[in-house]
């Protein structure tokens, strides 16, 4: 059924902290690794180490440069399906294969009924859906629906693979429909925002803004002074201190 359900109270989604993300791609590779064996398995992967790699990825990490009058900043920018509240990617689907779950708001493609017409990918402004030419069906982020409710894996693993993999803690998973959840509180505290809010699909996933350094390049910075370790007065310490001074003076 591709008509949208009544908005659910539970809105599962991700919060991505652009201030922390370092663009390491761990979430993207981990996503691919889990999902090529998961709900939408397999994810096509052609010539992965060759000259012309191609394939379906559900999470992609861009890097942008943000420039102000005085400074530029690199922002690593993970982008995946935002599990929107009012997305046309669901309503345009002729088969009902593209649907939004009434119970938790996850947007999924049923790989058994999708005819591969690609219309849903045309309706997504975020470029979040990728057609799998091998399978002939559309692939997209499932929010790891096969992990988060999976009772056969340890409880601490019941989060999306990307969240589990992120080494910096830039990704958080939770219920954005609950204003008291940790993710919602963090979004409120950090001025979390929607991507392309103007478009009106009402994404569930939120992004936290990068902070600009308080130091800008036109400020003159004091030369870093090297801390001189206090000597304990022993002969060997004095020798090292003398060698160090002698070498520094030459350098």
């Amino acid at each position: 059924m591709t008509s949208l359900p009544q908005p659910s109270d539970v809105k599962l989604g991700l919060v991505i902290d652009l201030d922390i993300c370092v663009g390491c791609q761990a979430c993207a590779t981990s996503c691919k690794e889990w999902n090529t064996g998961g709900y939408s398995a397999p994810l096509s992967d052609h010539d992965p180490y060759g000259a012309d790699p191609s394939g379906a990825w559900l999470n992609r990490i861009h890097a942008y440069e943000v420039t102000t009058d005085t400074a530029s900043k690199t922002v690593h920018f993970p982008r995946s399906c935002l599990h929107c509240e009012k997305p046309d990617c669901v309503t345009v689907c002729p088969t009902g294969a593209s649907y939004k779950r009434a119970e938790d708001g996850i947007v999924l493609v049923n790989p058994d009924t999708c005819i591969g017409c690609k219309l849903c990918s045309w309706a997504c402004p975020y470029g979040a859906r990728e057609y799998d030419h091998d399978d002939g069906v559309m692939k997209k982020c499932t929010l790891c629906v096969d992990r988060i409710y999976n009772e056969t894996i340890p409880e601490e693993d019941r989060v999306p693979a990307c969240v589990k993999a992120c080494p910096t803690g830039a990704r958080a998973f939770g219920d954005l429909g609950d204003p008291d959840s940790a993710v919602s509180r963090n979004v409120a505290a950090r001025d979390g925002f929607n991507l392309l809010d103007e478009f009106g699909y009402e994404p569930v996933n939120k992004y936290l803004p990068p902070r600009f350094n308080s130091v800008t390049p036109d400020q003159v910075l004091p030369a870093p002074s090297e801390p001189v370790p206090a000597s304990n007065g022993s002969a060997i310490e004095n020798l090292f201190a003398w060698v160090d001074r002698a070498l520094s003076a030459k350098g």
Binding site: T2, S3, E65, T113, W122, Y126, G136, L195
Partner: protein, 312 residues
């Protein structure tokens, strides 16, 4: 947007087929069909063949054509599903009319069947246009004029075909020429307005909005997420150089509108000579395929904001 040849073939061939069906249906309803039933039968066969070839071509670009039955289920929300339903429903009156003419039974129902077939043809083409016009992600398509252009072009190309076949059969049916004249003129003017609207619209959305980083400064892509183009870039990122687009627009104006309109007027003075109409059909065929290719190639998708487009 990437112009898929199957979709171009589908929308142009079945568009002309539905246009032809529309005019045959109306002609039958108003008793304006010259000649015996075999003339009608032959022309209806051509219309149904064009429609069927188009529909089959459209399933070629599906990943799973064998599951196509599912596409009839979501007519409540999906224009693609509505199009599928309308296409199949239209086969009922059109097929019955075809059978009645084939069997030669003297049935009083043919005018009603004609009206129903004509209405079905119109609805189906309208749904095709709405598949594109409903997509808010592509500003060039998201315009009320888009389904009207689809209708006018189907009507124009269908009437041209009808005029050619009538002339081949030795009938001087001036109203088919007028139908083609009016439809193509309307389509041409609407298409000019469509291009004008698009040329004056740089797009409402920016890379700053897409990334949500606009309050910090201007945004430009630094590193793409991958070393080679992905599906989204190939499908949504296809674009045609402005210079080529202008050449192709001129081709459309000449082949689809100017040329055929002149030839129609000429053939009004030589009604039994199919020569002018044959050239007009040929030119319009080239023109409408070019028009459809451009329709895709000039369309820009909002998702390209993540891949370097400044506006969309």
């Amino acid at each position: 947007m990437h112009p898929a040849y199957s979709v171009i073939l589908f929308t142009t061939a079945s568009g002309a087929g539905y246009g032809l069906l529309f005019w045959i249906g109306l002609a039958e309803a108003f008793g304006a069909m010259p000649g015996g039933r075999w003339i009608g039968f032959a022309m209806l066969t051509v219309a149904l063949a064009l429609i069927t070839v188009g529909l089959l071509a459209s399933t070629l670009h599906l990943g799973h054509p064998e599951r196509a039955l599912g596409a009839f289920s979501q007519w409540r929300s999906s224009w693609l599903s509505r199009e599928a339903v309308a296409a199949v429903v239209t086969y009922i009156p059109a097929g019955l009319l075809w059978l009645v003419w084939l069997a030669g039974v003297d049935s009083g129902a043919t005018p009603a069947l004609g009206v129903a077939a004509a209405a079905g043809a119109g609805v189906t083409v309208y749904c095709t246009g709405m598949i594109y016009a409903a997509l808010r992600t592509i500003r060039q398509w998201h315009r009320p004029v888009v389904p009207v252009i689809y209708l006018a072009l189907a009507s124009g190309t269908g009437a041209l075909l009808l005029g050619l076949m009538m002339a081949l059969a030795g009938f001087a049916v001036v109203w088919t020429l007028f139908a083609a004249l009016v439809s193509l003129t309307a389509a041409g003017l609407l298409k000019l307005s469509y291009w004008q609207q698009n040329d004056g619209d740089p797009g409402r959305y920016t890379a700053e909005m897409a990334t949500g980083l606009g309050h910090l400064g201007t945004v430009r892509p630094l590193d793409p997420p991958h070393s080679m183009p992905n599906f989204v870039m190939r499908e949504m990122g296809f674009s045609v150089a402005r210079k080529h687009a202008l050449t192709l627009r001129r081709t459309v104006l000449i082949c689809l509108f100017g040329g055929p309109l002149g030839l129609i007027v000429l053939s009004m003075f030589t009604p039994y000579d199919a020569g002018f109409m044959a050239i007009a059909v040929l030119a319009a065929g080239i023109g409408v395929i070019t028009e459809r290719w451009l329709f895709f190639a000039e369309a820009e998708h909002v998702s390209m904001l993540y891949y370097g487009a400044a506006r969309a």
